[in-house]
Symmetry: C2
Subunit: 401 residues, 2 copies
């Protein structure tokens, strides 16, 4: 008994059958005595179809008009889901982003939610209605339609749960929870009952993209309990919360991220401030640098290597070219034939054996480590791309998670 927010992605509402299925899940929750708010994404390929329509007319259409166009996808979904719930005989109202009070900044295509005017929402809940809200969208202060960018519907759901003090925010997907490794690659991968926000953030950023980071960050900030579960099977999923119960598991997951590139600056002058110049120039272009390795200077030069997201590789190379005169480097190299493999777990920092065990597993599998980085709850290594799946399996096996 309480207030539950449920979010369903595009594949969960892709056709009439799936929508009826979602309606059943929602009304079961309502019939059990809960107040229910539901966030839905656009159906299946709707967004892609709309983008194609736009590109046919104007590939450089303004982001404002793209938002007007794309926001129709979720609006179609809320209406259809409301109709399905009406068919099951329950009271329901659908609300678009602006009707639900989502006010965002003006960054069309990638807006941030500023606040939610919840009068209409609470009004409909008070009347006993199931409330269906269009995810991914809002309006700016000028009443222009905005969209939230990638992972937007997850963010809408968590924001709704936060502002309405929901007891639980359920994210229904096509997997049944968070796994210790990709179950398609690692047979012994296990579903987790619980994971902390921080661990989830590390896993999400590593390519285990069941939940988008923005939504997990928001859930952590407002302490919204999340549950990731299957929209097809009725069984408990994985709960994401602040502190998880102590478990035997030392690590929560092994993940790989293929979307990285390594940049190497060979033979840079060994004078103070060089690293600062490089990384501040990259930061100014909003390029996130991850693993950094700096060789110990031999003569009067040294080498600096680091990883960036694959999408930012070209721009990072441009930045380095621009610094040519300052760096006086012999050579600038890039390599995208690499994968970052990481283990994540809150207990890691206080247990020095973890890193050793990971490296041993890789050595046993005859996999060469190019770079290493560690944090409180994560150890990452950079390896050759072809070894990635074997590495994940070997590490997972070693920790017997």
């Amino acid at each position: 008994m309480g207030l539950i927010v449920q979010k369903f992605g595009g594949s969960s509402v892709r056709d009439a059958g799936r929508i009826m299925n979602v309606a059943k899940t929602v009304t079961d929750t309502y019939a059990a005595g809960n107040s229910v708010m539901v966030v839905v994404s656009a159906q299946g390929d709707t967004t892609d179809e709309l983008i194609e329509k736009a590109h046919e007319i104007n590939p450089k259409a303004s982001k404002r008009e793209m938002d007007v166009l794309l926001s129709t996808g979720e609006q179609i979904s809320i209406a259809l889901l409301a109709m399905a719930i009406e068919k099951l005989g329950y009271p329901v109202k659908s609300l678009t982003g602006w009707q639900a009070g989502f006010v965002t900044d003006s960054t069309h295509g990638n807006s941030r939610i500023r606040h939610i005017n919840k009068e209409r929402l609470t009004n409909e809940l008070d009347k006993g209605n199931i409330v269906i809200v269009a995810g991914f969208q809002g309006v700016n202060r000028y009443d222009d339609i905005t969209t939230l960018g990638r992972g937007g519907s997850d963010t809408s759901a968590v924001a709704l749960a936060a502002v309405c003090h929901a007891n639980l925010c359920q994210i229904y997907t096509d997997v049944d929870g968070i796994y210790t490794a990709d179950p398609r690659l690692v047979k012994s991968a296990r579903k987790l009952d619980e994971i902390s926000y921080d661990e989830m953030l590390e896993l999400a950023s590593l390519g285990a993209q069941v939940l988008h980071n923005r939504s997990v960050e928001m859930a952590k900030k407002y302490n919204v309990p999340l549950e990731v579960l299957s929209s097809l099977e009725k069984k408990p999923g994985t709960v994401v919360k602040e502190v998880t119960d102590v478990e035997k598991l030392l690590i929560k997951g092994v993940a790989k991220d293929n979307r990285v590139a390594r940049l190497s600056i060979i033979g840079v002058q060994d004078v103070p401030g060089i690293a600062f110049k490089i990384f501040s120039a990259l930061a100014a272009r909003k390029i996130n640098v991850d693993i950094i390795l700096q060789s110990i200077g031999r003569d009067d030069t040294k080498d600096i290597a680091f990883t960036v997201p694959l999408d930012d590789k070209e721009e990072a190379l441009e930045v380095l070219d621009g610094l040519h005169k300052v760096l006086k480097a012999h050579e600038i190299l890039s390599d995208d034939n690499v994968t970052k493999v990481s283990i994540v777990g809150a207990g890691m920092a206080t247990n020095p054996g973890v890193a050793a065990k990971m490296f041993e597993a890789l050595a046993d599998a005859n996999i060469n480590i190019q770079m290493i980085s560690t944090s409180e709850i994560k150890i990452s290594v950079l390896i050759e791309k072809k070894d990635a799946d074997r590495a994940v399996a070997a590490i997972h096996e070693a920790f017997a998670v």
Copy 2:
């Protein structure tokens, strides 16, 4: 130089090519020094496709949710047209019904516009923007999305023109104007340069449905000059206004309406108040009665016949059955094998030869007239359905319009 409202229907924006075509028309008008507001309908079959999606889920979906669903059709159109205009390099903003300030009553699926809050509209025009408005939609006072029903986009355009005091409201369609008869049936049919609101109303109600009556009524009420013209060819259309210049033409058009049925009450008691009882009962069910014929009583009974819209036939028969005890009629008959053929023209009432000429043309064509009705600007006859096209041609020929 002035403010022009242009309205484009679904077939005018059905694909990328047609949308670019519309963008060209709009920007030419803007480049000539005018302020331009554009109203668009949903693309081609979009509305039908959305209705099908809804019916697959719930054939009895609430009208509120149908409006949420259907209003996405026009929202897609405004975004795509705005993108096309951006491509041509002109400043443009698209606005949904609620953004454009359209406030309606709460009759979902068939709302009436209550007022238009024009702040946003004039604000965008003042900035020099071409403004694209989603037709057919608005919001009620609770911020729920509503749609205007049949002919809604025409009504949106005329309302916009009225509230913003536009110099002209152009309705672009797939015909190039109003004709004296259906040009597919009558080869000698002529396009009119001008027609009065009243004449247009009579023609529209007779099935020459280039413009929906609601929009013409509104144009008449607020004295908005309308022009009906082709979205494909660049040439003047037909202007609809209060008073047309005196023309040689006595009649403005010949039209037929197949969607009628004749009901006959045979042998009703010839006592005072019978007609009142019948027609007030029909009016209470909002059934419009058109041509009425009452026989002169022979004995103590008489016969009453009248026409109703075909869609209302069954309900009208129910009403008459309900009056059974009062009427004490011998028989109630219905016939939908009939067509109403009419001539429309402002000069008609003061020219007694017109009716005679019409009846003569029908007699020469050996077509039997079942019923006759006349008004200030219209003469209608009811004939057998099979004779309809021949009747239109014969009358058109007789008047050599």
